[in-house]
């Protein structure tokens, strides 16, 4: 690992100012993505700016109409939060399936989202609940929809120096299911992951690791939402639309064909489970 300057700002504004002072500076949260890339020499930062001292919100807050998760909340905190387990159990499950406990004790949800891997485990549940991300440039804040935050492999909507401060999730009585397939049961990145969500008889379908970003499949949602009655034939049609939309690649975690087959099988199963239809 090359040497760098290490900065511990005490405000968000201080963090952003430091970041903007060079072209090759990086924010540090849990370090479980960043330090691996630095070690491999893929990233050679001039400055590392530690967000953990910068006064970002960290915990999980329960408000009347929304839930707020600080960008620095660790995956372990989210996995074990009794409140998240009760209200958004599929997010707790996604968090609990990211890496191993050793990783989850350090890895933050903000880091998982800003790293913007198409396989990021917390992305599909957050898109499914229509979460919004609060981004700060040290002066102003803006909100983006989770779905619009991801722009490509490792690319986000963050402008230079902007950071992710907090995640806002509207409270709702919807039900969701998260599914992750990886080569080994625990610890590995997803071959595919997905969340299917249902609230007020409307479905949301979000697939990960099968496109340059996690992808919400609106055509398939509409198929289900327009129907008077959901039966197996309709679910199969919706699954076919999902398969038509995704563009998986072949890599060491599986071939494109295998990924499509996995998605088909499991999206069918999850919709069936939520709709109460045997598949």
């Amino acid at each position: 690992m090359e040497n760098f300057e290490f900065i511990s700002p005490i405000t968000i504004k201080g963090a952003v100012n430091q970041y903007k002072k060079g072209a090759n500076n990086y924010y540090l949260a849990g370090g479980t993505d960043l330090i691996v890339l630095m070690r491999e020499g893929i990233l050679v930062p001039e400055k590392i700016i530690d967000l953990k001292t910068a006064g970002l919100p960290s915990g999980i807050k329960k408000l009347k109409t929304e839930i707020r998760i600080g960008a620095l909340a660790t995956l372990s905190e989210i996995e074990h939060s009794s409140f998240i387990r009760k209200e958004i159990p599929f997010l707790a499950e996604a968090a609990g399936k990211l890496g191993s406990p050793l990783t989850r004790n350090r890895a933050t949800i903000g880091g998982n989202l800003c790293n913007a891997s198409p396989a990021a485990d917390t992305a599909t549940p957050l898109i499914a609940v229509e979460a919004k991300f609060i981004l700060s440039d040290g002066k102003k804040e803006r909100r983006v929809k989770a779905e619009e935050f991801f722009k490509g492999v490792k690319q986000t909507d963050l402008k230079k120096g902007e950071l992710l401060k907090e995640i806002v999730i509207p409270r709702s009585a919807g039900k969701g299911i998260f599914y992750k397939k990886s080569r080994i049961k625990l610890v590995d990145l997803a071959t595919v992951n997905m969340t299917v969500y249902r609230a007020k008889k409307k479905y949301r379908i979000v697939i990960g690791a099968c496109h340059i970003t996690p992808l919400r499949i609106r055509a398939a949602e509409e198929k289900l939402n327009k129907a008077k009655k959901i039966d197996l034939a309709l679910i199969n049609d919706a699954a076919a639309l999902v398969i038509k939309t995704i563009k998986p690649i072949s890599d060491m975690r599986g071939s494109a064909e295998y990924r499509k087959q996995l998605v088909k099988t499991h999206v069918t199963r999850l919709i069936g489970e939520l709709a109460g239809v045997e598949v």
Binding site: P101, L102, R106, L186, V187
Partner: protein, 162 residues
């Protein structure tokens, strides 16, 4: 950059001069002489470098020493009593859970943390807790047995102390 920092390891403040790019693992081993934590992969995958960091087990190869200033760190050396072995260590020996031994310090650190928060774990809970600690020798069966045995012994000795 290089900097003089204070690291709190096993309850003792250590003043060390470190480089920005040195990991906590490297500083523990090379500068503080605490060599229980091992470098297996250096990339967060194997758990050989596990230490208790701010109360929870974590891979010290993915923590920069410079960010560890002010954080309480506990290594296997700090878990081991001065004049005898810790019951977890003895259970690992008694159950044949140590072969080459490279994974053992990390396994014991993780076990220590597990049994602190959950003194009577199920087999599933044990498997989940050690899922970030890889062992290429034992096949895990003896390790899981050793953890169950350690849990029994710790409960017994706690009962005696009451």
């Amino acid at each position: 950059m290089s900097k003089d920092i204070t690291l709190n390891v096993n309850g003792i403040d250590h003043h060390v001069n470190i480089q920005g790019n040195e990991t906590l693992l490297k500083v523990l081993r090379d500068k503080l002489g605490l060599t229980a934590a091992k470098e297996g992969c250096g990339a967060g995958e194997c758990g050989a470098c596990a230490v208790i960091y701010n109360g929870s087990p974590a891979s010290s190869c993915l923590i920069l020493a410079i960010e560890a200033e002010g954080v309480e760190i506990l290594t296997l050396e700090g878990i081991t009593p001065k004049d005898h072995l810790h019951p977890i260590q003895q259970a690992f020996i008694d159950k044949g859970a140590v072969q080459c031994g490279f994974c053992t310090p990390g396994m014991i650190v993780t076990t220590y943390s597990l049994l602190k928060s959950n003194p009577d774990p199920t087999e599933e809970e044990i498997k989940k807790a050690i899922s970030g600690n890889l062992c290429r020798c034992t096949g895990y069966v003896q390790i899981i047995e050793a953890i169950r045995e350690a849990a029994r012994r710790l409960k017994r000795s706690k009962g005696r102390r009451k």
